[in-house]
């Protein structure tokens, strides 16, 4: 097996574009395939706490069931995708998309916002 030991990958033709052959014969983009941030929070009790994150500089409590994740390195536009979920029978959505942050809102089956133990979200899109 060949192994390349390297600390950084930079595109040759374009620094921000590296192609990787997929599982079949088609190729995909290394940069576009990487999640640019993710967040796993404990919001139980109303004060959000970080369990673990990537590219998240800080979190803040916007209100019951609503938490803001602020990026360390910003996105290039606010049109990124951010799938999210929460534990037990509670439903999650992302709102307030911005290049510097996004907000995750969690609600219960009765339609009320709620603070949960495990709020999870990932970010896919273009880094600035």
């Amino acid at each position: 097996m060949s192994t390349l030991n390297v600390d950084a990958l930079v595109g040759n033709t374009s620094a921000n574009a590296i192609t990787v052959r997929g599982e079949g014969s088609a190729t995909t983009s290394l940069q576009q395939g990487l999640a640019k941030a993710w967040s796993h929070l404990n919001v139980n009790g109303g004060t959000p706490a970080i369990r673990d994150t990537f590219n998240i500089a800080s979190i803040s409590d916007i209100g019951t069931g609503n938490t803001r994740n602020t990026f360390t390195n910003a996105m290039s536009n606010a049109n990124f995708a951010a799938p999210s979920s929460a534990d037990a029978f509670n439903f999650s959505s992302v709102e307030s998309y911005a290049t510097t942050h996004y907000q995750q809102r969690v609600g219960n089956t009765s339609g009320s916002s709620t603070d949960r133990d495990h709020n999870v979200s990932t970010v896919h899109g273009d880094l600035a």
Binding site: D7, D52, P83, A88, L127
Partner: protein, 163 residues
């Protein structure tokens, strides 16, 4: 095994292509940076990769497609466990986004798959989940209504640190 260590790799012309089976950090084996779409800011290769995924039909139950998933455990109606092949680095420091592509009933309910960490211990090798539905039905005396149920099209994607 051959090892090549360079600071800068340049081709003599044309599109550069490296045929390689494995990427490993030189300074730190588990960390490689990648220049992002903006051309300047870097992101981390390892942190950006999904560590496991599983698309499954809990009504069978059966795995439709997966990556780094060893098996699926059916606990009871609407409850189960996805078991990883290679373990995660911490029991609660990895996380999963979840989704449903198909429901299992004809009612206008919202179907969902969710983490079940509060009731079943999540470990580095196992992700417990619940599936079910909730919502309203026109004319029903049971509104709002919901229950555990085995759903088709359940999706789990794990992010975080591998062991």
């Amino acid at each position: 095994m051959s090892t090549i260590k360079v600071d800068t790799y340049l081709t003599r012309g044309g599109v550069s292509e490296i045929a390689i089976d494995k990427l490993k950090g030189a300074s730190s084996a588990s960390s490689i940076s990648v220049v992002g779409e903006g051309g300047t800011t870097t992101t981390n290769l390892q942190q950006g990769l999904a560590k496991a995924s599983c698309l499954f039909d809990q009504t069978a139950p059966a795995i439709d497609a997966s990556f780094n998933t060893a098996s699926l455990t059916d606990t009871s109606a609407g409850k189960g466990i996805v078991n990883w092949t290679n373990n995660m680095g911490g029991a609660l420091t990895y996380s999963c986004t979840t989704g449903i592509t198909n429901g299992n009933n004809n009612h206008p309910y919202l179907n969902a798959i969710l983490a079940d960490k509060l009731h079943v211990t999540q470990t580095t090798s196992a992700f417990p989940f619940r599936t079910g539905y909730a919502g309203f039905e026109n004319g029903s005396a049971n509104n709002p209504f919901g229950n555990f149920a085995d759903n088709d099209g359940c999706l789990v994607v794990a992010i975080g640190d591998l062991a």
